[in-house]
């Protein structure tokens, strides 16, 4: 497969770009932040996302979705990255939907997927417990009780946690933290008794929460996939999330970069445009190259997911690691080359810097993924 967008994908990009840049430029996020919006995203916009088929992008057509693939997810995520639009797309339409697609039984799929697709249900994955992304370190306990389970423990960085209707919770049904065996995924209603949710206002003004489960009762039908065997299901779902976040970071990096290059062409010092200084030209050129390379690695990873999610791990590790370092560099150079302007809240660059930092932590940072690659290659 060629590493260029098909005609259909380019059309999708154009319509996503039109919609997102018109309705949710960076000022949209700024407004949500400044007004301390209780939802943290625009419901109205989410409905238009649903109407044009983005909410159900990965939902199979039989459940009312668009039945598209991961390259298409990347196309939309990249546009989201350009304006930093806060939306349930990542948590609900990409990650939770993939978990249901891949692990759900017929009943679970027909209950949740149509609602995701029409925009009426928000869902999210609850994995991390410690300060860093370590999925196998899951320690939230699920003990058998009657025909179901009782869940107890806490999760951090649950994206959209305070607005989600449904949590997909990784829990330990056997073994101990660090082991692959003994993990199970549960579908947990966010209104269930014993669920406590704390919205954590994050540096990037996007939605996240900590949740605590105290003896939350779920029945056997709430198990997603096989009891004790969730590790490989989780690997695939997380890799999909990583690919999507990498694409968001590509969009974010490119947007910061474009704004920086524009600034280099308009700001004068010493009687010259600062873009005439070779020291800055070379740094800009290097950054351009970094972004192009990262874009290619991300497309390669999304294609690998489309071909076979279970065989995409190395390509994903490369993409997420690269996207993390490139986005970090793009926002740092962006701020630096804007001088004092770059440090002001009034100016948008800071928003990109904050979002890049969160994207870097989401689903594993560059160090985590570099380490994964080293392990996969056996050294």
């Amino acid at each position: 497969m060629a590493l260029v967008l098909t005609e259909e994908q380019s059309m999708l990009r154009d319509s996503a770009r039109g919609l997102i840049s018109d309705t949710a430029p960076v000022s949209h996020l700024r407004h949500l932040r400044d007004s301390k919006d209780p939802t943290g995203f625009s419901k109205e916009l989410w409905h238009s996302f649903a109407e044009i088929g983005f909410a159900g992008l990965l939902v199979p057509e039989e459940f009312g979705g668009s039945g598209l693939g991961f390259m298409e997810v990347g196309v939309v995520m990249e546009e989201i990255g350009r304006t930093l639009m806060p939306s349930p797309f990542l948590a609900t339409s990409v990650v939770a939907t993939s978990a249901l697609n891949r692990g759900g039984n017929a009943a679970q799929k027909s209950e949740y997927l149509p609602k995701i697709s029409n925009g009426s249900l928000l869902a999210t994955l609850a994995i991390d417990e410690g300060t860093k992304h370590r999925p196998l370190q899951t320690n939230l306990q699920a003990v058998r009780a009657g025909n179901g389970f009782k869940l107890s423990g806490a999760k951090a960085l649950v994206v959209d946690g305070h607005v989600a209707d449904l949590f997909i919770v990784a829990a330990r049904t056997a073994g101990s933290a660090g082991e692959r065996d003994g993990l199970t995924l549960f579908l947990v209603n966010s209104k269930a008794k014993g669920v406590a949710i704390e919205r954590t206002i994050m540096v990037d003004a996007h939605n996240a929460a900590r949740i605590e489960l105290a003896n939350v009762e779920v029945n056997a039908d709430s198990v997603l996939g096989e009891v004790d065997q969730a590790a490989s299901l989780l690997d695939g779902v997380l890799d999909i999330g990583r690919g999507a976040v990498a694409a968001e970071m590509v969009g974010l990096s490119e947007e910061v970069f474009n704004r920086t290059v524009e600034y280099l062409k308009s700001r004068k010092q010493f009687g010259k445009l600062i873009g005439e200084f070779q020291a800055l030209q070379h740094r800009a050129a290097e950054l351009y190259i970094d972004i192009e390379i990262t874009r290619a690695a991300t497309m390669k990873a999304l294609q690998a997911l489309d071909a076979d999610v279970t065989k995409a791990a190395s390509a994903i590790a490369v993409a997420k690691a690269r996207a993390g370092t490139t986005a970090t560099r793009a926002v740092q150079e962006g701020v630096q080359m804007h001088g004092g302007m770059g440090m002001t809240d009034q100016f948008d660059i800071g928003f990109f810097m904050k979002r890049a930092r969160v994207c870097e932590e989401l689903f594993g940072d560059a160090n985590y993924h570099t380490e994964q690659l080293a392990q996969a290659r056996g050294y």
Partner: protein, 404 residues
């Protein structure tokens, strides 16, 4: 989706081509030719005085030549394989999977050929291309001069008109393999009064012409693969000019794009095995099978990430070119990154090799193959335009920053 039928048949055809190609390579590539190139003797350059360093090298070259696969994507009428871009991609990937060596290395293939295909007359194409494909003539590149390196267009070698001929006088430098080459493609000044880019012509001539002399220059690697080249009233027919007289800069730039793409891919075929494993052999591993030098391990892993990402970008660059969406200066971006990465690769290899990698003249070290290769990579970011110049091109041509 309108073309889904044709694209399905295309995919099926391509899969068949892949199967056949793999079988042919399997049957025809001698096992000795499936090992990484470690010394100059492993490379076959062709030319009038060419010698094969081994029988398998000869067999492999001749079989590939007979199939047109020394230049798989050139038209068959010029000795090429006539493959489509998609087929060529398949062939490259199958060759890479097998780790097969290039059957023929040649400036004719990498640089002159593409320029002749675009700018040459039919007579020039028929004269030169089949000989390049068959490895009969070895070419060298007469671009740089003592006072025209990065500022190539300031070159001074003059070509004065004399009837049907030009008479060429001047000096070139850094001419790789000039002492082994049969012919040279050369930039000369045909109009000294014009602006610097407008008076240059691109001309071809035989290195045995009267008035051509070469003098090798010793490099830090201990080899002397390149020369000072002197022209003293060398007489060359005007019909040997490629493209228009005084418009040689266009040809030169087009050729440089190919040269840069080629140099950026120099590390592509790698060193046979993953760096992490090469390093494990020399520094050892801990109880969990991890390299016994955690900083080196981290360096290698981050190198591996960047290398895989660059490979994706190289693939995308070809796909973009095929789709007509490539920026003409993108080869400068690839050249910059590819050569800096290749230098990193050999820094890591030297570090992993430790004391062993320092041996210069010993049987054990194959006469210092690794340190010599390490030293050679330092030229990657100089030859074909320095890294600084590549960044300048990206800044001005792609990003459109001011102050050209």
């Amino acid at each position: 989706m309108t073309d889904s039928k044709t694209s399905e048949t295309e995919t099926a055809d391509l899969e068949q081509f892949r199967t056949e190609t793999r079988a042919w390579l399997e049957a025809n590539c001698p096992p000795e030719m499936r090992k990484p190139v470690t010394s100059d003797a492993d490379v076959f350059w062709g030319g009038r005085n060419a010698k094969f360093s081994s029988e398998p090298q000869r067999i492999w070259f001749e079989r590939m030549r007979d199939k047109g696969w020394t230049v798989p994507d050139w038209p068959e009428e010029y000795g090429g394989g006539g493959l489509s871009a998609a087929e060529h991609k398949v062939l490259r990937s199958e060759i890479a999977k097998m780790g097969a060596r290039p059957p023929l290395s040649s400036f004719g293939i990498w640089m002159l050929g593409p320029a002749l295909l675009k700018y040459g007359t039919e007579a020039q194409k028929q004269e030169h291309l089949p000989k390049i494909a068959a490895g009969l003539i070895r070419w060298c590149q007469g671009y740089s001069e003592p006072n025209a390196g990065s500022d190539l267009a300031s070159l001074q070698t003059r070509a004065e008109s004399d009837g049907d001929d030009f008479v060429i006088t001047g000096q070139k430098i850094w001419t790789s393999y000039a002492n082994y080459a049969d012919w040279i493609f050369c930039l000369v000044r045909t109009d000294p009064t014009a602006k610097k880019h407008d008076g240059i012509s691109f001309i071809l001539f035989d290195m045995t012409s009267k008035g051509v002399t070469t003098k090798p220059i010793l490099l830090i690697s201990g080899y002397s693969p390149f020369c000072e080249t002197f022209f003293d009233n060398v007489r060359v027919p005007k019909s040997h000019v490629v493209g228009q007289i005084n418009r040689g800069w266009d040809v030169a730039k087009y050729l440089l794009q190919h040269e840069r793409a080629m140099i950026s891919g120099m590390g592509e075929r790698g060193v046979g095995r993953p760096l992490g494993q090469i390093a494990a052999d020399s520094v050892g591993t801990d109880g969990q099978g991890r390299l016994d030098d955690c900083m080196l391990r981290a360096e290698i892993a981050s190198f591996d990430v960047d290398e895989a990402a660059l490979a994706a970008c190289a693939e995308r660059a070809l796909d973009l070119a095929k789709a007509g969406q490539a920026h003409p200066a993108f080869s400068s971006a690839m050249k910059y990154y590819g050569t800096e990465l290749n230098k990193r690769r050999y820094e890591i290899l030297m570090s992993a090799g430790g004391v062993d990698a320092l041996e210069w003249e010993s049987e054990r070290s194959k006469q210092g193959a690794r340190p010599r290769a390490w030293l050679r990579t330092k030229a990657n970011s100089i030859e074909g335009g320095t890294s600084e110049v590549m960044l300048g091109i990206v800044a001005k041509r792609i990003l459109d920053l001011p102050g050209a």
